[in-house]
């Protein structure tokens, strides 16, 4: 399946609100770029009245399951879901089969996404061969092939000495190591946050210190080596504090969190709700509030989805046996808008930066924006209309979301990547 939306050499979008200034503006696109003027009538003229325009969103952390687990998701369904969620670039983690630890897998992912034409794929290569934490993978060659960062993600590198080598080696190629911070021994067999809920429900918990200790280790390593490091999906209050302190010391550390960590707490698993089972686990209310604070003061640079599609059967089972993770591409911006911007925790501009320029910087991508000369990546969102989210609307193969029935605003109506329409709700009237 390929992108079959009609495409136009030139597009004019009138009457849209600019995400930074709030002013009504007009966008002109020709040959895939924003232009100051067209010099002729645009092939497509759209009226964006009531909508707000943002640069195309960039997700620094997704799972596309392709190659190897196409029954959960593949590059086509995953990139369609991304376009549906307003993304124009997404960075998949390497836990595929085979693992994305060699050039052919990296090329396969980029090319398959390019042919489909829904969203750019910026692969994250495995930091160690087969994500086994034993030997460095071919970081240099994968970088040449288009890998934007390196990580063993869900199989965290247990050895500090191995992590040191990965950070030093990747830095030589101007690439960052992304660390899923979890001490495997402390977290062993855990299925949810260790705390009141795990104790009451009789579930084995994952203590917050399993995350905190590893964030501390990574920031100390980065400080000692002078290398950059990126902390994936921060979920704990002490983790936020640890990153904040490291930044104050001048460590080259960046960090991300996900919409579920500022929206939900461990209470969401009550009743053995496998849809809220995720790793790192949903934590406590005080952690949730600390995550919001971290986003406010810039400690947390990036909002990523950790989009993790699973087959229905992998969630429809006993809680302890259910897979971790939730789909997030299509609810990301609405959650950011409804749960962070509307209540006043973040300005729209700050929130959008965490979904555009900050991840672009991490992943060595050109600076996103709507200015003339830049690649025409954009999304038009409706900040007014309330939608009761229904996972049935998802373009992902998976439906594992804990946000079913949430009342949200900010759903994307039109996504354009390099001048091509990649998602169109049909709401915009052509003039």
């Amino acid at each position: 399946m390929k992108n079959s939306y009609p495409q136009f050499k030139s597009i004019q979008i009138k009457n849209v609100r600019h995400w930074q200034t709030g002013d009504l503006t007009e966008l002109l696109i020709a040959e895939g770029k924003f232009v100051p003027e067209l010099g002729c009538q645009a092939e497509l003229v759209l009226d964006g009245q009531g909508l707000t325009v943002l640069p195309g969103l960039i997700d620094a952390h997704v799972h596309l399951r392709d190659p190897g687990f196409e029954y959960r998701e593949d590059i086509i369904s995953g990139t369609r879901a991304a376009a549906h969620g307003g993304f124009t670039a997404i960075a998949p983690m390497p836990n595929t089969n085979p693992v994305a630890d060699t050039v052919p897998v990296i090329r396969y992912m980029i090319d398959k996404a390019a042919v489909a034409g829904f969203c750019r794929v910026l692969p994250i290569g495995a930091a160690t061969k087969k994500q086994e934490g034993q030997e460095l993978s071919e970081i240099g060659l994968m970088t040449e092939a288009g890998a934007v960062a390196f990580s063993d993600d869900g199989l965290p590198i247990a050895s500090a000495s191995m992590m040191r080598k990965a950070m030093e080696y990747a830095a030589f190629f101007d690439r960052v190591i992304i660390s899923h911070c979890e001490d495997p021994e402390l977290a062993k067999d855990g299925v949810c946050n260790e705390g009141i809920v795990s104790t009451e429900m009789g579930l084995k918990g994952i203590p917050s210190i399993a995350e905190d200790i590893m964030i501390d280790r990574e920031t100390r390593l980065a400080e000692y080596l002078g290398c950059p490091v990126h902390i994936a999906h921060v979920s704990t209050a002490n983790g936020v504090e640890c990153v904040r302190a490291a930044k104050a010391r001048g460590v080259k550390v960046t960090a991300e969190t996900c919409p579920h960590y500022f929206t939900l707490t461990e209470e969401a698993i009550r009743g053995f709700n496998t849809l809220a089972k995720v790793n790192p686990p949903l934590r406590t209310e005080s952690d949730r509030l600390a995550i919001i604070e971290g986003l406010q003061d810039g400690t947390l640079d990036i909002i990523a989805t950790d989009h993790a599609p699973h087959h229905a059967d992998e969630k429809d089972c006993e809680f302890s046996l259910a897979n971790n993770g939730l789909i997030g591409l299509e609810t990301c911006f609405p959650l950011v808008y409804t749960r962070l911007v509307e209540p006043g925790h973040l300005s729209l501009a700050d929130a959008v930066s965490k979904l555009t320029s900050n991840p672009a910087h991490l992943l060595k991508q050109p600076k996103p924006g709507l200015e003339a000369g830049l690649v025409a990546d954009l999304v038009l969102v409706d900040l007014e209309e309330t939608v009761i989210y229904d996972a049935a609307s998802s373009l992902s193969k998976a439906r594992n979301t804990p946000f079913q029935g949430f009342e949200l605003r900010g759903f994307p109506q039109l996504t354009i990547m390099a001048g091509n329409i990649t998602w169109d709700s049909g709401r915009l009237a052509a003039k």
Partner: protein
């Protein structure tokens, strides 16, 4: 230990007419003590005393569950729970069958839903299940029409154990209200502890839990109990001392240095008995690791009611099956009347 004279049928009838009393369970499943209201707990216990009378006569047979089918599905080992459910069914006249995980298709990789659906499709009315995963009965209950009775799920709950413990306490203490109960041992892995804390506190008891620090689940103090790390502190002035089984099969790594050290610091000894009330009773859900949770002389002490607990286990399970069947009948009647 002397038992308190049980309530007569008339006295019980009077209590049943009290304002907060209920005559029926609100759910057709029994998943945990968390899900039961105090009035429902009293209903089950009152019914259990009636059932116990049936057990005391020579012809131990009734027709309350005649024509009903009960399957006991035990995906974990059990002697007393499984057998007492089986006996309870038979005393009530139900058709019963047993299946364990070692002889079931779980061994062939069949998932839980397919397994229980298969069991249900054999015209099963009530499915009694034990499972190593917390929440497994809750998962099943949402997906089948048969009634589900939780006979122990992972570390979560074991409601019929808590009910039989409460029944035993009533036999010896007259009432749960106002009792001080010490629960000692492996609190982290214990579904018996969790069910007893929920149930006893709903019935008005004060519960203390004493466990080694490595066997104390985090934030246990947020459950309705007082957390003591010292067994002796917990036993002071209590009416009931309940030892928990050290669940060697559920421990993922050694949580105490040796059995010897465990027994020395965390076992129930004569000092604990001296600290407790002179008429305090000793309980244990079994099976007991003699010399670990308590030495044999305490297990067989004249204040020990451990064997009586087993007898009450049958009565409580009869009561649960009887009441769930009544609830099912009521639901069916309601459906027919509204058809």
């Amino acid at each position: 230990m002397a038992k308190i004279q049980p309530l007569t049928a008339e006295e019980r009838a009077i209590r049943r007419t009290a304002e907060d009393a209920v005559t029926q369970l609100s759910s057709r499943h029994l998943l945990g003590m968390q899900e039961l209201s105090p009035a429902e707990i009293m209903l089950i216990l009152d019914t259990a005393f009636v059932m116990k009378n049936i057990l005391s006569v020579q012809t131990k047979k009734t027709a309350h569950l005649q024509g009903r089918s009960v399957i006991t599905f035990f995906a974990e080992n059990s002697t007393r729970t499984r057998l007492s459910f089986d006996m309870a069914c038979k005393y009530l006249g139900a058709t019963t069958s047993n299946i364990g995980s070692s002889e079931s298709s779980i061994r062939k990789g069949e998932n839980l839903f397919d397994t229980v659906k298969t069991l249900e499709m054999m015209s099963t009315d009530i499915l009694v299940m034990r499972h190593p995963q917390s929440g497994a009965p809750h998962y099943v209950a949402e997906r089948i029409d048969a009634s589900v009775v939780n006979a122990g799920d992972g570390m979560n709950e074991h409601p019929t154990q808590a009910l039989l413990d409460m029944m035993t306490m009533i036999e010896y203490k007259g009432s749960i209200k106002g009792l001080k109960v010490a629960i000692t041992g492996d609190a982290m892995h214990s579904r018996v502890m969790r069910s007893n804390v929920w149930g006893l506190t709903k019935a008005g008891a004060e519960v203390r839990v004493a466990a080694p620090p490595t066997m104390t689940p985090r934030h246990l103090e947020h459950m309705p109990c007082r957390v003591c790390h010292d067994v002796r502190e917990a036993c002071e002035d209590v009416d009931v001392i309940m030892g928990l089984r050290v669940q060697l099969e559920r421990q993922r790594s050694a949580l105490f240095p040796s059995v010897n050290e465990y027994a020395h610091f965390f076992g129930i000894d004569s000092e604990c008995l001296d600290l407790a009330r002179p008429d305090a009773i000793i309980m244990h859900p079994g099976p007991c690791n003699h010399g670990v949770e308590m030495p044999t002389f305490i297990h067989e002490h004249d204040r020990s009611v451990i064997h009586e607990q087993v007898a009450n286990g049958v009565a409580v399970r009869m009561a649960v099956l009887f009441l769930l069947n009544a609830k099912r009948n009521a639901e069916i009647n309601y459906e027919e009347s509204t058809r």
